[in-house]
Amino acid sequence: MTHIRPRSPNIQSYRPQLTSVLSIANRITGVVLSLGGVGLVVWLVAAALGPEPFSVVQGFFASWPGQIVLFGFTFAFFLHLCGGIRHLVWDTVHGFELASIYASGWAVVAASIVLTAATWIASIFMGA
């Protein structure tokens, strides 16, 4: 016999559950926010260089694609923030009952949506 034993499927067949979906979401938002950090540096450097480079960067953020990017960053930020706090609580060995895991998971989703909406409403209010 020369055949290698096959490996049974994992991600191809395993059902997505709140546990794994929020975990991968925390990961993706972490990567997104790292890019956001680079955006922050670009913005700071532009501000340091003077009004003209700064207005180019601000112009991008004010444009439609820029606003969509900022909106994405806002949601990613709140999801990562709330998910991160959930992780910090777990690290103290609290909240491991399945009911708590699910309750905190849905709370993270709800809080991220509400906080993102609140941020944008506040920002539109400030801009008006």
Partner: protein, 279 residues
């Protein structure tokens, strides 16, 4: 929906599987092909369709998915009953492990409708139509639903799952207070079915180095045993970026444990103990 215990089957689900291509990162020998459809039993009035992963090492061909029709009026209520019914009535070559048929031996762990559980304690009525049965996820397959557990048992062996003592044996047994005995609750009940390890994405990507939830839960079972005197070496053995810290608290393990245990919590205890000994 809030899930209160790991035996709850969630009816509300927004994704059946992760949106990745079917053969995403799958090596040639593991690609699953279409299998055969076995005829429905004649005269059966309540029939359920089962799609089951098959692999025959003697044929040297790829794994396939066979379709069976089970007569529910002629068969017991559990998924294991359906498998036994198929083996008796349809295809005697269908191969799976089972022994106790009451959830204490851990042999019949498999993946049903995308989650790991014991076939003998999952109701057929809890499964979708058609029901989809795979072996435990991410294991090398010996035949059909029988996974090769050599590696995960070698990882279990690594934590030296027995009492370590340094002081000479007392005259009688080593005593433990009722309070201390209570510390083992939730850990000693593990039946080593490896549902949790096989459902852990971190173990999928780094199973060669990450010990996985089953072994880490067992590690805590010995660390928290008041009679054990080997905790120093035990913690040394665990403290490793891969062995322990590949756990990212995804908690698929706790979600799936058919004994309702909490490997995720055991791992958090270990991380806390390791932090405690240096600050």
């Amino acid at each position: 929906m809030i899930i209160h215990s790991s035996d709850q089957v969630s009816r509300a689900r927004f994704l059946k599987r992760f949106p990745v291509p079917k053969n995403f990162g799958v090596p040639a020998e593991s690609r699953i092909v279409q299998g055969r459809t076995w005829p429905a039993p004649e005269g059966a009035r309540r029939v359920k369709v089962f799609k089951i992963y098959r692999y025959d090492p003697e044929r040297g061909t790829n794994p396939r998915i066979d379709t069976f029709h089970v007569d529910l009026d002629d068969c017991g209520p559990m998924v294991l009953d359906a498998l036994i019914w198929i083996k008796n009535k349809v295809d005697s070559t269908l191969t799976f492990r089972r022994s106790c048929r009451e959830g204490v031996c851990g042999s019949c762990a498999m993946n049903m409708d995308g989650t790991n559980w014991l076939a003998c304690t999952r109701f057929i009525s809890d499964l979708d139509a058609p029901a989809v049965i795979y072996p435990l996820a991410n294991m090398r397959i010996i035949k059909d639903l029988v996974p090769d557990l050599t590696h995960v048992f070698a990882q279990y062996e690594m934590i030296e799952p027995w009492l370590h003592v340094k002081t000479p044996d007392p005259e009688k047994e080593r005593l433990q207070s009722a309070e201390e005995r209570k510390q083992l609750d939730g850990y000693y009940e593990c039946i080593l079915c490896f549902c949790c390890t096989s459902g852990c994405p971190s173990h999928w990507w780094n199973g060669n180095r990450f010990l996985g939830p089953a072994t880490l839960l067992q590690a805590w079972r010995w660390l928290t045993d008041s009679r054990d005197e080997g905790s120093e070496e035990r913690l040394d053995r665990l403290e490793d970026p891969f062995r322990l810290y590949r756990c990212h608290t995804i908690l698929n393990c706790t979600r799936t444990c058919p004994k309702g245990l909490n490997p995720g919590k055991a791992i958090a205890e270990e991380k806390k103990a390791i932090l405690e000994r240096r600050s």
